[in-house]
């Protein structure tokens, strides 16, 4: 019975612990390799995150700026009278403007050929803007006024690096020679970048006018949708969780609910879109593209998430709290509503915010209930129309832009993503703060 170790010593030649034998060295190398695979995997994940972040910021930030031309000039009453007598009134105004611009360039001492066509290609036709301004503000006639005019989207692209001298093709929109003028104007400080408020606050434009497209209206659409989701999913989710966690007997019906919840959590979101289309729009005849319908669909989609996290926070409240309440003669219902629910509330709110953030970014179901392709040209008129009138939502608006043929809209889509992510980030930060501040370990 002494020889249990047939090969003992054979593979452990140097019996000292301090020196590694060949096999141990090999095993340790395998160990290091394996660990490196793991680290690589983490780095790959983080690498993708960084690439994603960089491409979003790089492609999206130009959407927030636009290129404007500042021109200061004064118009006398006589000049206005002269222009108003002409057949093409705005053209006459534009001519005054071009003269003023030429003067400005000459004064700065630059040697650039300025022709009217080039100016028109760079800043469009300023005539009507000027005419409207002086009609609206007759008291400014005769005094110097600074006009801030939006440059064309190609000049915009030149400033953002989207259009380069190499990639430029002479077209009726912009000639290579015009870029000399643009450079000169930029040097003189006449052309500069400014924040594009139209993009942040504006509504969507038509397919032919990427410069005027804005995300504001769809932010409002998303807001109304989230309102519906919050108002419906929080109470329903909390009520369902309380029932399942505190009151439900163990029977078939409860099992059925449980199975349904865990499966709904994994049903593809597009299926919820089909549900919304068939039930809310085809059957119940709710208006298409309305934030109300979007909110209802997203509520059904978010409920399982909220129920699952709410149940987890209810379960985290120790039974001793319930026993204590029951022990002083409270009813089961009172023990839940007076003690368990308030203690679980931070967790519930955290889960709800995260569920809302998920719903805010969800696109697929919105496609089916008609929130895409719809051009949200304006803000809703009031609260009721905010819920019932067709509108877009942020992710749907982004998709609409991404699906348009004009590549200028891609920049808007990326910009829209930045706006969307800012909202998501804010919501998640609020959730984290809530968790940090109120988290309680029993």
């Amino acid at each position: 019975m002494t020889d249990v170790t047939p090969n003992a010593g054979g593979n452990r030649a140097g019996n000292s612990l301090a020196t590694q034998d060949a096999r141990t060295k090999r095993r340790n190398r395998a160990e290091a390799r394996f660990k490196a695979y793991g680290l690589t995997a983490i780095l790959v994940g983080i690498f993708f995150l960084v690439v994603l972040a960089v491409s979003i910021i790089r492609s999206g930030s130009p959407a927030f700026t636009r290129t404007v031309v500042d021109v200061e000039f004064a118009l006398s009453q006589a000049q206005i009278n002269e222009a108003e007598e002409q057949l093409f009134k705005t053209a006459a105004y534009a001519a005054f403007f071009t003269d003023a611009l030429k003067r400005q360039i000459d004064e700065s001492g630059m040697e650039v050929a300025v022709d009217e066509d080039a100016i028109e290609r760079i800043i469009g036709k300023p005539g009507s803007t000027i005419r409207e301004f002086f009609q609206a503000n007759p008291d400014r006639i005769g005094t110097p006024v600074t006009f801030e005019l939006a440059a064309s989207s190609r000049v915009d692209g030149y400033f953002n690096g989207r259009v380069t001298r190499e990639s430029m093709q002479d077209s009726r929109f912009l000639m290579a020679g015009d870029l000399d003028l643009v450079d000169a104007l930029a040097e003189a400080g006449v052309i500069r970048s400014s924040i594009n408020w139209t993009f942040i606050t504006g509504a969507d434009s038509g397919v032919d006018n990427p410069g005027a497209a804005g995300i504001g209206a769809s932010v409002v659409g998303s807001f109304f949708m989230m309102l519906v989701v919050l108002v419906l999913s929080l109470p329903i989710g909390v009520a369902a969780s309380i029932y399942l966690e505190e009151f439900a007997p163990r029977n078939r019906f409860t099992d059925l609910i449980e199975v349904n919840i865990s499966n709904l959590a994994a049903v593809p979101s597009i299926v919820f879109g089909i549900l919304g289309l068939a039930i809310f729009i085809q059957f119940a005849h709710l208006p298409q593209s309305a934030p109300l319908v979007g909110g209802l669909v997203l509520t059904l989609m978010t409920l399982p998430t909220i129920i699952i996290s709410t149940r987890a926070s209810l379960r985290a409240v120790p039974p001793s709290i319930r026993d204590a309440a029951l022990g002083v003669g409270a009813s089961k219902m009172q023990s839940v509503f007076h003690h368990v629910l308030p203690l679980a509330m931070p967790g519930i709110l955290t889960g709800t915010i995260i569920g809302l953030a998920q719903a805010l970014g969800e696109t697929a179901p919105l496609l089916l209930i008609g929130m895409v392709g719809f051009v949200a040209r304006g803000y809703p008129d009031g609260i009721v129309s905010g819920f019932m009138d067709p509108n877009s939502a942020m992710p749907a608006q982004i998709y609409t832009w991404a699906a348009r043929a004009d590549a200028s809209f891609y920049e808007k889509a990326w910009g829209g993503i930045i706006v969307l992510l800012v909202f998501l980030l804010t919501m998640n930060i609020i959730a984290i703060i809530l968790r940090r501040r109120f988290e309680r370990r029993w």
Binding site: M1, V4, P6, N7, N11, L17, A18, R23, N28
Partner: protein, 266 residues
């Protein structure tokens, strides 16, 4: 129930000291779990660590094969020498150390593999067998050593988790034996077992003494008396008393040892 092998006890010399610990301190974050422990553990002897729960006996046991390395907050100071070599030396690979100092745990923890693969696991990773036949031999011998062969020989390909608790623990002992260790550490190996399985394992421990130096942590004083030749009593992180088992149980020197043995503390 147990005949003390007086022969072995009388021949204790410097030569067969297997493990010697000097001035060992263990910290868990801010908690000082083991304080100034000095002990010499002999070869081919069963040494029992007894003491009330939380006294540090398991912690100290885990220091001997550096299992505490897997716990981040655990820090060990002092020297523990195995055959005169400091096991906490920077150059020592804990993997090689643990091949020499095997361990059996409180709860039987067979791997989710077949009985054969459970036993063959150690020999495979350490490359103890050159051929399949070698491996078969090691597995059979180890299972025989652990008195499990007769029960397991027809079901070697069935999962180890399908055995009863006592069988599982013997499987874990077989698994530890198969690696051909020099020291076998046992952390309350019988605490999850019924009395019959316990008796079987205790019998096994006594057999293993011929081969290895066995260190067993137990919370049962009767068990310590039955299986061990040397006993160390731990209390609040201190090694209070260490000596011949018979002496510790019949004529303890320290008041605390006596209190514990007579049931006044613990």
């Amino acid at each position: 129930m147990y005949d003390a092998p007086n022969l072995a006890e009388s021949q204790v010399t410097q030569d067969n000291i297997k493990i010697s610990a000097r001035n060992v301190q263990v910290f868990y974050a801010d908690t000082h779990a083991i304080k100034d422990v000095d002990v010499d553990i002999l070869d081919k002897t069963v040494t029992a660590f007894i003491g009330p729960s939380g006294c540090g006996k398991s912690t100290f046991l885990r220091c001997i094969n550096r299992m505490n390395d897997t716990i981040d907050i655990c820090k060990v100071q002092g020297d523990i020498m195995l055959d005169g070599q400091d096991i906490y030396d920077k150059r020592v690979d804990p993997v090689q150390l643990r091949a020499k100092v095997g361990m059996v745990f409180q709860k039987p923890n067979p791997f989710p593999k077949s009985i054969y693969d459970n036993v063959a696991y150690g020999p495979r990773i350490h490359g103890l067998a050159r051929t399949k036949a070698d491996l078969d031999e090691i597995v059979e011998k180890s299972l025989r050593r652990a008195a499990l062969w007769n029960e397991a020989k027809d079901r070697l390909d069935q999962p180890g988790t399908g055995l009863s608790g006592g069988q599982q623990q013997r499987l874990c002992i077989a698994r530890a034996v198969a690696t051909a260790p020099e020291v076998l550490l046992m952390d309350e190996p019988c605490s999850a077992l019924d009395p019959i399985a316990t008796a079987q394992v205790e019998e096994l421990i006594d057999e293993l003494r011929q081969e290895f130096s066995v260190v067993i942590v137990t919370h049962s004083m009767q068990q310590a008396a039955r299986v061990s030749q040397k006993t160390a009593f731990f209390h609040l992180g201190h090694l209070v008393e260490y000596g011949e088992t018979g002496q510790i149980f019949t004529n303890p020197e320290d008041e605390r040892t006596e209190s514990y043995i007579t049931g006044r503390i613990g």
